[in-house]
Amino acid sequence: MLVLGIETSTPQTSVALGSETGVVAASLLATGPASHELVVSEVARALDRAGMPRSALTAVSVGLGPGLFTGMRVGVAAAKAMAQGLGVPIVGFASLDLIAFSVRYCRRLICVAVDGKRKELFFAFYRPVPGGVTRTTEFEAAGPGRLVAELIARLEDILLVGNGTLVYRRELEEAGKHVEIASAAFGFPSATTLVELAIPRLQREDFDRLYDLRPNYVRKSDAEIAWDSRRRAD
């Protein structure tokens, strides 16, 4: 099995190649919009470095956000076309789940919050369980004030993680001493986690349907939001 992971929903773009025995090549870019242009050539480079032909790829795993709209689309477009072109299965994962999974060994409630632009964060809460995490809330898009209220309402120790904490650190610190903000090193979803999580799903043939797989936008487009509020006003 050789799985290709593609994660582009935050300003850190990453691709990774791996199998049951671990990751064999990975690359990470954080160069702004240019990193979107480099996704496919980074896949080519990773295969080169791993000394594998593209025909060795047996599946594609992709991060679905929520996150930055254009980034998510680039990742999902690349992953879907790659899967269709190679004729291999595809699996998708919520990008916030990837971040939570990477801090699963902490014995605390986990809150993942990524920057959603437009003065909002995308966030969700998780509990560590044996072998991983389980998400206990829906994904929500809201300003930092709302997230702080959610953190205060929970009366237990919380690990707050995600690149949203880099943007709104001052506001989020207001939540109180029961909330620890994790280091930025854990703040971005990564393609290596995508590969790791894909393996068990691929083994039980729990594939996603190529046509139906789409980014998790959570928020409507600005034009649709304006339209909805005009309709409500009428």
Binding site: L38, V39, V40, R73, A77, A78, A81, M82, Q84, S221
Partner: protein, 333 residues
């Protein structure tokens, strides 16, 4: 050489399979007009989302319709600009991933060069020099092509593109979206001489301007209604269209005369306009000029024109690297 052409620069997701830049085996267009209609124009975020959902099923359909498998494809051509950056990026990324997955050459195509090559699909290779009049939702442009793949812009619109003006006037008259074809249909029943709208011929050179004409239409209709009369909309449509088209034809023929070329090529969605086609054809014939016009269905955005332009680019050895990005303001030339 069998080429898959992908076009996502605006609000049509379009895929085509074309042999040797000539034989159109499949040419599928998923129009998003119904998604944008309520907003009165194309919403970039809505367009980008729809492209992503449409692309993969459309590829399977195009392959099925052309009796082709991915193994039979020899190259991938894709629009790299100009257009909406987020929309372009979906098509470009998919094209790159397909090219890589299949080990095929990739060729990036300028959208307007695609509109020019729509003619080649219908009429075969066209020898330069020629003058191209490109007129669409985002462009009104006169271009001199002295030799293959070289373009010199002679003039363009100073305000609205012609398609945009058609759409806005149609919207003002209460017609559907996109308004160009609706206005064209309504104009057929009207009198083009009913109202003498201003012709912007006084402007120097080959530039175009439609804002004055647009205002004149609004003023006329509002004034009529102020007098308690409901203007005959078919006459307004026909008179507006006549004013637009007359100037376009005059300037295109002047450009051909001044550059000394004997061939005119039309391209872009507005070339579907019946009056533009008719008047250009009459006047070109009078002037002894060869006129190439794509069939109406190849005037608006499609993947076949991109595959065709891509074929000719590839044939002269052009290739596009896998790290190519979207160029929303890509210049022609």
């Amino acid at each position: 050489m069998r080429i898959l052409g992908i076009e996502t620069s605006c609000d049509e997701t379009a895929l085509a399979v074309v042999d040797d830049g000539r034989a159109v085996l499949a040419n599928l267009i998923s129009s998003q007009a119904h998604l944008h209609e309520r907003f009165g124009g194309v919403v970039p975020e809505v367009a980008s989302r729809a492209h992503l959902e449409n692309l993969n099923p459309l590829l399977d359909l195009a392959l099925r319709e052309s009796g082709t498998t991915l193994k039979d494809i020899d190259a991938i051509a894709v629009t790299v600009g100009p257009g909406l950056v987020g929309a372009l990026l979906v098509g470009i990324t998919a094209a790159k991933a397909l090219a890589f997955a299949l080990g095929l050459p990739l060729i990036g195509v300028h959208h307007l060069e695609g509109h020019i090559y729509a003619n080649v699909l219908a009429h075969g290779a066209i020898e330069p020099p020629f003058v191209a009049f490109l007129v669409s939702g985002g462009h009104t442009m006169l271009v001199h092509a002295p030799e293959p793949f070289r373009y010199r812009i002679l003039g363009q619109t100073l305000d609205d593109a012609a398609g945009e003006a058609f759409d806005k006037v149609a919207r003002f008259l209460g017609l559907g979206f996109p308004g160009g074809p609706e206005l064209d249909r309504l104009a057929m029943m009207g009198d083009p001489d009913a109202i003498r709208f201003p012709r912007a011929v006084t402007q120097r050179g080959y530039d175009f301007s439609l804002s004055g004409l647009k205002t004149a239409v609004v003023r006329h209709v509002t004034a009529e209604r102020g007098r308690g009369r409901e203007p005959a909309l078919e006459d307004v449509a026909a008179s507006f269209q006549e004013a637009v088209v007359e100037v376009q034809v005059d300037k295109t023929l002047a450009a051909a005369r001044d550059t000394g070329v004997a061939t005119i090529v039309l391209g872009g969605g507005v070339v579907a306009n019946t009056r533009l086609r008719a008047l250009m054809s009459t006047r070109a014939e009078q002037a002894g000029i060869r006129l190439f016009t794509p069939p109406p269905e190849l005037c608006t955005d499609n993947g076949a024109m991109i595959a065709c332009a891509g074929f000719y680019r590839l044939s002269r050895g052009d290739r596009t690297a896998l790290d190519v990005g979207a160029s929303p303001g890509l210049p022609l030339g």
